[in-house]
């Protein structure tokens, strides 16, 4: 019997030890969770605590609606309606409201109910989310691939005319905001030349499903938004990549590698590229938030009903539950993206998770 207990204890210890070995990952997950709670707190505070808050505005809105339909405005009924739409009960003390609000969001994915659509906010946004992610992820991936390739090429030809020209071009492209790019694309490629559709997610006349025509129409509709979100990802990354590569190209260990007779392809990929990409990778984690943020403007311009489009819609219609819900949604999607990036960062950079030990003054 005691043998079993001992073995079980060993097993638990081994599992705990194994899990503790992923300290870096646990810390990142914990961090994401804390961020989610803080964002929820901010939305709650904006909803509830500030003077002239949306909850009161909604109450007044419902009151006038009820009066318009000839019913007496019973305070309890009003409280109930606010509760249905926001997820907290205004008649309860503040801390209980807060607790219930966070619990509903974290445990039950209850983001409240949209005023204008009457559907749960979660359902509306969950259906829209894949489209936003589709645009953003492709934009980001394309943008960073271009950064890396262009930056590496510039560093390789450092000081040449190509390098000089491309530096100026990259700087100039960097000063074009993504929405200006989007408007230009829309004016010339969609309206003037008619190569691409000017809005929507897919051709509604084609039967939805896993058929090539439908998928082609998704790509066709997504091309311009992706091109515009590419501008966000492109940023100044090419110049940063160039700077990193140039610095590494002069490093001593590279000379040693050359003297050892290592092939130039191996040097370029394993020695230069890997070291030069590292700082860019951290920059990309910030870039994820920027790309998802940009979708509010892009989806408005391209009338592309993703999460960003609903955000804009919610502002126009004063649909506060939907507005707050979409902000939370953006946060969650961004957090997942950053978590993925950080997990893979541990693979790319063996030093990850070993920093932060310095003397305190």
């Amino acid at each position: 019997m005691s043998e079993y207990v001992g073995r079980a204890r060993e097993g638990v210890a081994a599992t705990l030890g194994f899990l503790a070995g992923f300290d870096y990952y646990w810390r990142k997950i914990g961090h994401a969770f804390v961020t989610l709670i803080s964002v929820t707190t901010i939305t709650f505070a904006l909803f509830r605590l500030m003077p002239g808050n949306p909850a009161q505005a909604m109450r007044a809105q419902f009151e006038s609606q009820l009066e318009g339909s000839g019913q007496a405005a019973d305070p309890e009924v009003l409280d109930q309606m606010v509760q249905v739409h926001t997820g907290f009960d205004p008649s309860q003390p503040i801390y209980m409201q807060y607790f219930e609000y966070v619990r509903d969001i974290v445990l039950y994915q209850d983001f409240g109910q949209s005023i204008q659509y009457g559907d749960p906010v979660f359902d509306i946004l969950f259906r829209a989310m894949p489209w936003s992610v589709f645009i953003s992820v492709y934009g980001l991936a394309l943008g960073y691939s271009t950064n890396i390739l262009l930056g590496a090429a510039m560093a390789y030809k450092e000081g040449s005319r190509f390098d000089g020209t491309m530096t100026v071009v990259a700087t100039f492209l960097n000063s074009i905001p993504y929405y200006v790019g989007a408007l230009l694309f829309l004016a010339f490629f969609a309206h003037d030349l008619g190569w691409f559709p000017s809005g929507g997610r897919y051709d509604t006349s084609i039967e939805a499903g896993l058929n090539p025509a439908f998928m082609a129409s998704i790509v066709h509709h997504g091309a311009l938004p992706i091109m515009s979100s590419f501008i966000v990802g492109f940023g100044g990354g090419a110049l940063a990549m160039r700077g990193n590569s140039v610095r590494i190209l002069g490093a001593d260990y590279l000379r040693v590698a050359r003297l050892r007779g290592i092939g130039s392809v191996r040097i370029a990929t394993r020695y230069v590229a890997r070291n030069a990409i590292l700082p860019l990778y951290t920059q990309m984690m910030i870039g994820i938030a920027a790309v998802f943020s940009s979708s509010v403007v892009l989806e408005y311009i391209f009338t592309y009903p993703g999460v960003g489009w609903y955000t804009f819609d919610a502002i126009n219609m004063r649909d506060y539950p939907l507005l707050m819900g979409s902000f939370l949604f953006f946060t969650i999607v961004t957090l997942i993206g950053i978590l993925l990036a950080e997990f893979t960062y541990g693979i790319v950079d063996p030093r990850a998770g070993s920093g932060g030990e310095n003397e305190s003054y």
Binding site: T35, S175, H191, P279, T311, I315, S360
Partner: protein
Amino acid sequence: MSPTDESSTDGGVQLSDDQLFGQLADSDSVELSGRERLARILDAYVLAPGRVAWNDWRTRLGILIIALFVLAGTVGPRVIEAPATNQAPTNHPPFEGGFGAITEDGGWIDLVQISVGSVSLPWLSFEFPLGADNYGSPIGRQLVHATPDMLEMVVAGAIVSVGFATIIGVTAGYKGGRTDSFLMYITDIVMTMPGLPLVIVIAAIYPPRQAWLVGVILAIDAWPGLARALRSQVLTLREESYVEASRTMGLPSRTILSRDVIPQLMPYVLINAAQAGRKVIFESVALYFLGVLPFTTANWGIMMDTAYSEAFALVDLGNFYQLLWPMSAIVIISFGFILFSQGMDRVFNPRIRARHTKKVGGGDEQPPTE
């Protein structure tokens, strides 16, 4: 501490520490009057870097562009008439008459005589050179009259975001330990929040009515990256011997930070202030274009919105110029900011400055090109 007898061994009079060092300090301060000292500081911190910066075409062009916008924002509104509807025909095309108008009468540009006192001088008169929108409001005038508010926004946003980033980043980097972890934890949280949606939510609930307030709200989302970058700079500075000396002397952290650390970071802060300014412009124009912010201040984003949703400038390419001018203003001013910060970076960043002479680099931070 006992006084040393060294000065008396060679027959001299023994001096106290105070006499020795006090005199030195005295003679130093007597030589420099306040004005001279100011001149020296000015030379060391402003003129010398300025001269280096001016040698680089980037900084030169960047400063020129920024100066042009500052001029348009300060003098412009006084010289150029305020825009109003129906000052020009609606949808008046830009550069009417084309090149021919330069020589002929009528069109967008004319040679006229103006009289200053009794002398009459030849002068150019412009007739809505950039065209007018679909309410007949001249676009050039709108652009100029929107500039002061834009500048106010940029300055407020840059000061708040850079100031906040400096306080957080420098404190975290210098203090280290638990303070560092805590401050960076908060920084990371703000950094991972999607900035634009947060700003939109805040602006939708409490619409800001003043230009500077818009700048301050946009700063919420601009400081975390810079705070992190500054922290990593301070992490190297804190181990410098002169900082350690100050610490050994028992100076309070506040003095060490303000005297020893922050002056070293000023160039870096300046570069990033330019980047923050560009970011504030990008985002404020986006928000005004979306119609999230109240139309209480003039803004290029409002002009774009009018052109987009009322003149249908995208569908009707004949009206595209109404969209093009405000867009060009944004692109040009942010190009100016980027060139300025790149040029300044070249001046102050020893790693970049020395790159062509000595290519060996260390450390793993990247040059602050965003």
